[in-house]
Every structure is written in C-alpha cells, then in structure tokens.
Symmetry: C2
Subunit: 87 residues, 2 copies
DNA sequence: GTGTAGACTGGCGTCGACA
DNA sequence: TTGTCGACGCCAGTCTACA
C-alpha cells in the first residue's frame, strides 16, 4: 500500500525494544549476543532500533542465545506492542 | 556449511505443520488465508511445506489472519518441534 | 559499547501459469 | 485445492570501517 512515507512498523519497534530489554536483563552486550547467536552485531543493532525485520530462523537463534523461549519472546513483544498502540 | 543435500530446518518443518494445522482448524483454504493475510498463495504453500522462512512481519500477518496470537502460534510451533526432535 | 554507512550475496515474497 | 516452476525485485543478513 502506501509505502511512500516509510515509517517503521510498530511491530519492528516493539521487537527491537523487546530484544534490547531481554539482552540487558541477561547482562549481555550486543557483541556477546552476536557471538552466541551467530548473528552479525551490526544487524542486531539495527534490529534493536526497529529498522529491520528478522526471519523466523533469526528470531529463534536470538531466543536461544538469550535462553528464552520464542513464544515467551513473542509474548513480551505483544506486551510492548500494546503499550505502543495505546499511545 | 555447504550442505549439498540441503535438508530443511526442523524449525521450518515445525512451522509449516503448525501453520497448516491452524489453517485447517479455522476451515480456510490456502487461497482464503492468502486473501486475508495478503501473502502470496504459492508462498503460503511453500511455508506449509517447510521450504521457506517467513520474516517476523509475515509471521504476524499470518497470525492475524488466523485470529491467533503470534505467541500462541510459537507455542504450538515449539510443541511440534519437540515432537520432531524426539523422533 | 553502539550506530551507521556502503557494498555485496542469498533468499524472501510476488506473479503467472499449469498439472 | 494445492504444489511447483521460472522469472524477478527487494530486503535480510554479512562484512569492513569509523565516529
């Protein structure tokens, strides 16, 4: 549809917030998470800022590295998304 | 690396099974799900057969079309994945 | 420790068609 | 109704580098 005004998707913003929060709770740096998940650090940075959309496999890799279930990650994402859409 | 005989990822197989099961439970055809989610029908077919990996946005679109929470979809995926890895 | 930019490769996702 | 095929655009994801 109207992709002219490329504003970032709220889902990606919510995912970024979720990822960053969990990472910090676990006390990891982006670089450590990159090592554990084998996802490029610069890409993790972009994910946390809601600039890119991960694939399912990337999502699962990150969840594993964070020792959290993907479904739990999605639950938190939904929670963050609610907060964003209520504003 | 370089697996000549590209065996499919178990995660994608599990996702495909999950997607197909939920779709059938809702009584949708691939074409109907395609209309609701605005994902190409041929791509949905490939997803159900574990041949492709969806992005997070595609995953959420499909979940919405199926009137199920993404976190619930992931829970079922984890269940199916357990069944696959136990064999 | 993080954000970003550029260049690059592979694969996500679309479209049309046919069994 | 679904699987698959070919063609293709665009973006996921990598890598290097710098503030």
């Amino acid at each position: 549809m109207s992709k002219k005004n490329r504003e970032k998707d709220l889902e990606l913003i919510a995912f970024g917030i979720t990822l960053k929060n969990i990472r910090k709770e676990k006390g990891y740096t982006q670089e450590q998470l990159s090592d554990y998940s084998r996802i490029d650090r610069s890409f993790i940075s972009e994910l946390e800022n809601g600039e890119k959309a991960p694939t399912l496999l990337t999502l699962i890799s990150l969840a594993k590295a964070l020792r959290i279930k993907p479904s739990m990650l999605m639950q938190i994402l939904e929670f963050e998304l609610d907060k964003l859409t209520q504003k």
